[in-house]
Symmetry: C2
Subunit: 130 residues, 2 copies
């Protein structure tokens, strides 16, 4: 499942709450995005075609529901980034997190705790549902 930039916006809006109509989704878009209603519809139709979401009509109106979880989509995007851009290494990510993202000391510590915590629980979590 490969989403384009514009498609990510739609999916993010849909994941916020669903089932949702095109109008609902449109309203939730970041205010910097100013798409015509028909543009939104076109994108939604394409997303349905890709099986990223389903469409169910009630009367005249379509309701959309995601067919992929946000978590799965995020992971797959991350994975493809790591493979393609970073050549499989994760260290640039850490550098990015700390330098570019300008994590505060507190956030850094939170991440350290998270890592330590995962160190203990990673095994059990292998089968967690999405």
């Amino acid at each position: 499942m490969k989403l384009s930039d514009a498609e990510w916006h739609l999916m993010n809006a849909l994941w916020e709450d669903y089932p949702a109509t095109a109008r609902d989704i449109m309203k939730r878009l970041d205010s910097r995005i100013q798409w015509a209603y028909t543009t939104v519809k076109t994108m939604l139709t394409r997303l349905v075609g890709k099986n990223a979401m389903s469409e169910e009509k009630k009367g005249n109106t379509s309701f959309y529901t995601p067919l992929v979880s946000q978590k799965k989509a995020q992971r797959s995007a991350l994975k493809s980034l790591v493979d393609k851009v970073l050549g499989g290494t994760v260290e640039p990510i850490m550098h990015y997190l700390v330098e570019e993202k300008k994590l505060t000391s507190e956030e850094r510590h939170k991440l350290i705790r998270l890592l330590e915590d995962m160190d203990h629980t990673a095994e059990e979590n292998k089968n967690e549902p999405d």
Copy 2:
């Protein structure tokens, strides 16, 4: 600077060592990639057009040199992913690192050390060159 998937392959190959000819770059591509020589040339021309690399001819042959550092390109890709896909939060990245990437305990500890280390040196590194 926005690179397409195919362009990432070329750039990664060029960053390995440069200046390089189209033929050099082609040889370095992952063996799963089987592009015609002219395909490589087309992509390179486009990358030159985007100012991602420069082209200098010695006689009949072009030598390419990156105009953006790998580090900068990686960071900008990461930033755009975090903004667009993850809505600005970095926690999914950590989860990805630990669960999807299946980091070993040792790697986790290395990351923890890295984070701790950065915690101390982040300040000085703010002006580091790329």
